[in-house]
Symmetry: none
DNA sequence: GGTCGCCTTCACAATCTTTTTACAAATCAC
DNA sequence: GTGATTTGTAAAAAGATTGTGAAGGCGACC
């Protein structure tokens, strides 16, 4: 499931992206309206999160452009001002929902889930708990559990586990991790991934020295054998 | 979307460039084979249009070089020779399609769209499981299986097996291995291939002393008899 | 402000792969 | 058969990748 996130404020954009990634969405980000339209055409995302106030082209214009191409794709507006939201509703821009800043993780997740459920009924629930090996992961709570043990996890750590779990048996290469978890444009130093994996293993592996969930595939990436 | 166009005839080159630009591609042009390789390495285009007859290095050579770097990037050959043999040769070289001169705008556009669509949609070709003898190979998992036995393989080992399987019955000469697996520019010492073959046999052959998948053809290369 | 947790970078060691080397065995040309 | 060439393979060398502790930055929270 692919989502396009258009938001000019870097902090909000990256926060939302982390949430979306942890929810299991392949997330493409745009910093302005023009880029959003371009990426929409190039990537055909399953739905769109759209800030109203953006340089390049406002969310309204982007929405019109997208609606011209596809009248069905779900669009969620983001805005700090509730009067703008009123305008969205009043102008019948064709938005499917809206999120008012400031927002909490739960609110965003709930809105996205509601919209995707409404628009794509067959969609499996995204932030439902999942299991990887003997570990139960609860994305909404940023927690996992093994038997009695409760383990706190970050958004990124959940993203890693989900990516491995979705591709069980297959090797997830390092580039895929960077593209899916960080996004192409802000990929950090390559060693950061190793560090994240190391920390994650120390949290979730029964024996971090002999990982069973996050196995190294030398020269390529990591793998979880289902 | 960036495309590399290599064509020595100025009229055809500029005509094609206009078509490509009109289609919205960022177009880089090369007038001979050597320049094409250089630009490929420098620019990493999303796909390549390649004239077969060029000074510097023929389209075939350029294709080999590119395939050595990236076995996935779509390559469309252009040629004035309509003989079937060229076509076959071209496709075996790892080209994705073929345009015969003289061509119309519509034909070119259709081919380009078809190839880009095909290559964007289906990653499979490269990571699709295949069998060679009694061995099932799963490239996405970097593993193979014979009955109950699971065998871990490296990217290069899978490359060797795939090359042999694709050319079953024919001899794959040593140069082809180097071009396809290493690329002309970083071809190592010739003995490295023997070493790789030796290790591979010890992994995948039921009886490494009597190889059935990777047979030596003295003085030429190796062969897999379908 | 201070503390905390997360993310990132760095440094070094440990580990794993690939390539080269060396020599024995096989094959070929005559 | 003999000698030159090619191939198989163990072992050494070279090279690359990964694991992980330490340190600093940054924002969140109190």
């Amino acid at each position: 499931m692919k989502v396009l996130l258009a938001e000019d404020d870097r902090h909000i954009r990256e926060g939302l992206r982390d949430i979306l990634v942890a929810e299991g969405y392949e997330t493409i980000t745009a910093c302005d309206g023009r880029e959003a339209v371009r990426l929409y055409l190039a990537e055909s995302p399953h739905f769109v999160l759209l800030d109203i106030m953006m340089p390049g082209a406002s969310g309204y214009e982007v929405c019109r452009e997208i609606r011209g191409r596809d009248p069905e794709v779900p669009i969620i507006f983001i805005s700090a001002k509730s009067e703008e939201i009123d305008r969205v509703l009043g102008l019948e821009m064709g938005g499917d929902d809206f999120i008012v800043k400031p927002f909490g993780v739960k609110e965003v997740v709930a809105r996205i889930r509601a919209v995707t459920r409404r628009c794509l009924r067959e969609r499996p629930t995204q932030s439902m708990p999942f299991t990887i090996g003997d570990l139960e992961v609860f994305p909404a709570e940023l927690r996992a559990r093994r038997g009695e043990n409760v383990i706190e996890l970050s958004l990124r750590e959940i993203g890693i586990l989900r990516l491995l779990q979705e591709n069980r048996g297959k090797v997830v290469d390092r580039n895929t991790f960077f593209n899916r978890l960080w996004g192409i444009e802000h990929a950090p130093n390559s060693r950061t991934l190793d560090q994240q994996i190391s920390k994650l293993r120390q949290r979730v592996e029964a024996d971090p020295a002999n990982p069973s969930l996050v196995r190294t595939v030398h020269g390529v990436g990591y793998r979880y054998d289902g």
